[in-house]
Amino acid sequence: MSDSIFDHDHHFPAVELPSDIPAELLRKAPLNLPNPAELEVLRHYTRLSQKNFSIDTQFYPLGSCTMKYNPRIAHTMASLPGFARLHPDTPAPAMQGLLQVLWELQEWLAAVTGMAAVSLTPAAGAQGELAGVAMIRAYHAARGDHERRKMLIPAAAHGTNPASAQMAGFAVVEIPNLVDGDLDMAFLDQHLGPDVAGIMLTNPSTLGVFERRIADIAARVHGAGGLLYYDGANLNAILGRVQPGQMGFDVMHLNLHKTFATPHGGGGPGAGAVAVQERLRPFLPLPMVTRSEEGALRWLDEGDLPQSIGRLSAHGGNVGVLLRAHAYLRRLGRVGVGRVSAYAALNANYLLKELQRVGYQAAFPERRASHEFILTVSDLQKATGIRALDVAKRLLDFGIHAPTIYFPQLVPECLLIEPTETESKATLDRFVAVMAQIRQEALAQPELLREAPHHLPVGRLDEALAARHLDVAAAQ
C-alpha cells in the first residue's frame, strides 16, 4: 500500500499546447504532476483523513480556540448552488439573496457585540486585528493626532496582537499581568499619554479570568485619548450576556470560526468580522452591505465611505464562512445565543473542580473560570520531570486532543483547557478519568508519558531535523 500521491502515476500522451500563444510564453518542461486514477485519489485522501483528529471524531479541550461542534446544516446551506456558484462580480440586483444574508449577519453581530456597525470582510482573526488597529490609526490621523504611535498590549496576549500592531505601523509596549491574572494598573497609568493610540485586550483574558476592572481601564485609556481594542478570541465566554461595546471597547474583531461554530478546516478558513462604535464607523474596511428603505441591498464602496481603511482581499472576504455563521446564529436565535456562554461556563467550571479533585493545580484557584481555565503541572515537573508537553502527548493516546500548552507563557508548565458548551457531561467525566490516570502514570511510570503518544500513526517527530534539513516539497 502506497502512502504518497506521487506513487500513483499513469502514463498519458503529452498535451498539445496552443499554437497561437508564442512559444516563449509556454511551459518549457512538461507539468510534472502525478496522474492517479480517481479511485486511487479517493482512497489516498480518505486514508489520510483517518490519520487526523477532528471534532467529529474526538474531544478538543483546546483553550483559546473554541473547538465546538460545527453543525452540518451550516455546511449544507453554504454549499447550495445558489450561493456556491455566485460570481463575486454579479451585479447586486442578481445577488439579493446573498446580500440579505450578509446584511442580517452584520446586524446580528452588531447586536451581539453592542457595537454600532460591522464589516464582515476580514478573512480571519489576525486580519480583523489588522483592520481594527488600522481603524484606530485612521481615527487619530483624521483628528490630526499624529503622535500616537504606541499600542499597549498585555504580555499574556495572543502573538497576533503585537504582530498586527507592528504591521499597522505601531510600536508595541507590553503591559505585565499581576499574579491574580488582572492587569498591572500602575504600569498602565505610567505609560498612558499623548503618544498612546490604544490598548488591545481580551476579556476574559488569555488567563481564563474576567478582567474585573474593565470599566476603570476603559475610563483611564479614554481619559488619555486612547482607544480600546477587543480581541474577540474569548467571546464565547460572554456571548449573549456581556457586550464588548458596553464594557467600553471601541473596536473589536470576532472569530466566526470559534464563537460562531464555523469549522477550523485543519487551519482555516476563518472569518474575522470587525465591529465598531459610531465614531469609528467611517473607517470600516470595505466592502459592507447596505439596505435602502425599500429593502434593496447593495455593496458599500469607496464613494460611500471615503475614509475607509480600504480593502483587505480582492472580494468580500470569506463569504462561505459568513454563510455558515449566519445559519448557526439563525438556528440558535436570541435564547440559544445566551445559552452558549452559560453552558460554556458551566462545562469549564465543572471540569476545573473535577480536575482539582483528582489532584491537578489551578493557576488561579481563587478565581471563577470563564469558558476556559489554566492548570499548571509544575508540581509534576518537580516530582518526576514530567512536563505539560508530556501530559498533552499522553492524552492523544486516549483519543483526546491536547489542550493548549505553554500559552500563556506567564504560567509555567500550563495547560489551557476549554471544553465548550457542546460537550456532554459524560465526555467531560471521561476526560477527568483519563487525566486522573495520566497523573497516576506520571508519578508511577513517567517514561510512559515521556515517550507518548504510543498509539498514533507516528510518535514524537524530530522537529529539529525538519528545520535543519528542510524537505518541504517532494523531490522530482
Binding site: 518549457k28 445558489g82 495572543h158 485543519g266 464562512v321 492523544l396
Partner: protein, 450 residues
C-alpha cells in the same frame, strides 16, 4: 437546546459540583451592570425552517451562465473533491500543531506545497494565505525584508494593469507602513506593460501573467529588467494557466524570485468571493522571510516518516511583534480541496483543462467579434480572458444580458480602466458550443435594441 447536550439532571449535578445555585451565578465575577438581559436578535429556527428560509434566499440569486472572470473563475469541480474535503476529519480538524494527531492534514499540505512548487518552478511554497490579493501584499512585504529597505526608501513597482481590486488591497495593507507604490504604466495600444523608466529605490517589480486585460506579458524581458536593476521579480499568476504557460521559475535568465496568485481556479467554488486561498512560492534562499505556515517531512523516534510544521520561529505565536506576518489562521480546507482537485485532474487533466479554457475563449472571441459594432481593442496573445469594445456602455450591455441568463463579463469602467464600452470576457471549460452561440445571439439582440 440546539447543539447543547445537557439535560436538567446533568445541569443540576454539575452546578452542585461547582458549588453554585444557578448558571447565572457562574458569572458572579462580572459586574452586574455589564450583564445585559436582552439583545436584538431574532428567535431561533428549527433546522427545517432554517433550511426553507435559506433555500429561498439561495434561489433568489439569479442562476447565470458565467462569462465573468477578473480573478475569480467558474470551473468544473469533480464531485470527489468536496466529497473528501467535506469529510469531518478534514472539515472539523484543528490547525496541525499536534503533528501526531494531524498527519492527514500535514501530508495533504506537503503534497500541496509539492504541487505548487512544480506549477511555479520555484523551490518552496507556504501552506496558503487568505487570497491572491492579500498574498501579493505579503509577497511585497517579504521582498522589502529580503532587500532590507529602511525608513522612507521603501517602494514597490506596481503595474497599472494589475487587477484593480488587488491594487486596492496593496494600497490598504502596504500603506500602513508608508511603503510607496510606484505605478508602471501599460501601453494603451498593446495593453501590455512598457519597461519602467527607472527602478528608483524599489525592492521589487510585480509582473502579472495574465494582466487585468487578459493579455499575456513579455515576462522574460520584464524579469530580466528587474534583475538587471537589482529588483526582485514577483510573478502574479493563475495556477491553472501555469499548466500551459511558462513557470515563473523559468522566466528570464534567472527566473522570478516569488510567485503569488489566487488559488480559486483549483477546485474552489465561487461563493460570492470567498473563501479562496492565496498561494506564495519562493526560492529556498528566501524561506526565512516567507510568511505563513510551512510543512516539512521528517522522522519520528522510531525512524518512521512523518510531517510537521516547521520554521515556526518566523510566525506570530513565537516571534510576536517581529514575526514575518501576523497571519495565523490560513485557508487550510481550501488547500485540502485544491490538493484533491489537482490530484484528481492530474498533470494531464490540468493541462487539458487549461487548453480547453483557451480554446473556448478563442472560439468565443471569434464568435463575438462578428457581431455588428463589436471590436477588439487588443490583439496580443491571451489565456482565457479578453476585452471586447462594445458600441454601448458595457455596464448597460452587461445589465441587459442578465435578462438572457448571462453574466456577460466585467465592464472595465467599474475598475476605472479602458473605455466605457470595454467588457472583459472570460470562457472556461464549463461553457460548451451552445453556450457560446447563445452569448453571441443574446449580444446581437441586445445591441440591436439598445
Amino acid at each position: 437546546m440546539p447543539y447543547i447536550p445537557h439535560d436538567g439532571l446533568e445541569t443540576a449535578a454539575m452546578l452542585a459540583a461547582v458549588g453554585v445555585d444557578s448558571l447565572d451565578q457562574l458569572f458572579d465575577e462580572i459586574p452586574p451592570n455589564l450583564q445585559v438581559q436582552d439583545m436584538a436578535l431574532p428567535e431561533g429556527l428549527s433546522e427545517m425552517a432554517l433550511r426553507r428560509e435559506l433555500e429561498g434566499r439561495a434561489l433568489s440569486n439569479a442562476p447565470l451562465r458565467c462569462f465573468a472572470g477578473g480573478g475569480a473563475y467558474a470551473h468544473h469541480i469533480p464531485a470527489i473533491v468536496w466529497e473528501i474535503a467535506g469529510r469531518g476529519e478534514f472539515y472539523s480538524a484543528y490547525t496541525p500543531y499536534q503533528p501526531e494527531a494531524s498527519q492527514g492534514t500535514l501530508q495533504v499540505v506537503y503534497e500541496y506545497q509539492s504541487f505548487i512548487t512544480r506549477l511555479t518552478g520555484l523551490e518552496v511554497s507556504n501552506a496558503s494565505l487568505y487570497d491572491g490579493a492579500s498574498g501579493l501584499a505579503e509577497a511585497c512585504l517579504m521582498a522589502l525584508r529580503i532587500q532590507g529597505g529602511q525608513g522612507d526608501d521603501k517602494s514597490i513597482l506596481v503595474p497599472e494593469n494589475l487587477l484593480p481590486g488587488w491594487r486596492r488591497v496593496l494600497d490598504s495593507i502596504l500603506g500602513l507602513q508608508q511603503i510607496r507604490l510606484v505605478t508602471v504604466p501599460y501601453d494603451r495600444v498593446a495593453g501590455t506593460l512598457v519597461l519602467p523608466a527607472e527602478a528608483g529605490d524599489a525592492a521589487a517589480l510585480i509582473i502579472p501573467q495574465s494582466n487585468a486585460l487578459g493579455l499575456l506579458e513579455s515576462v522574460d524581458v520584464l524579469t530580466d529588467w528587474a534583475h538587471g536593476h537589482g529588483l526582485l521579480a514577483i510573478a502574479v499568476v493563475n495556477p491553472l494557466a501555469l499548466a500551459l504557460l511558462k513557470a515563473p521559475g523559468d522566466w528570464g535568465t534567472q527566473g522570478a524570485d516569488m510567485a503569488v496568485g489566487e488559488g480559486q481556479p483549483l477546485g474552489i467554488p465561487l461563493t460570492g468571493g470567498g473563501p479562496y486561498f492565496g498561494f506564495l512560492a519562493c526560492r529556498k534562499a528566501h524561506v526565512r522571510q516567507l510568511p505563513g505556515r510551512l510543512v516539512a517531512k521528517t522522522v519520528d523516534g522510531q525512524g518512521r516518516a512523518g510531517f510537521c510544521l516547521t520554521l515556526q520561529a518566523r510566525e506570530q505565536h513565537i516571534r510576536r511583534g517581529k514575526a514575518t506576518s501576523n497571519i495565523c489562521t490560513n485557508q487550510g480546507l481550501m488547500v485540502t480541496a485544491a490538493t484533491i482537485h489537482m490530484a484528481t485532474l492530474g498533470g494531464h487533466g490540468l493541462q487539458r483543462t487549461a487548453v480547453l479554457c483557451h480554446e473556448r475563449a478563442v472560439r468565443l472571441r471569434e464568435l463575438l467579434t462578428v457581431v455588428p459594432g463589436v471590436r477588439l481593442p487588443y490583439g496580443g496573445p491571451f489565456f482565457h480572458e479578453f476585452v471586447l469594445r462594445l458600441p454601448h456602455a458595457a455596464v448597460a450591455v452587461r445589465d441587459a444580458l442578465l435578462g438572457h441568463g448571462l453574466l456577460a463579463g466585467l465592464p472595465l469602467s467599474d475598475w476605472g480602466m479602458g473605455e466605457a464600452g470595454d467588457l472583459l470576457v472570460c470562457a472556461t471549460e464549463l461553457l460548451d458550443e451552445a453556450d457560446l452561440l447563445a452569448y453571441r445571439d443574446a449580444l446581437t439582440s441586445v445591441l440591436e435594441t439598445l
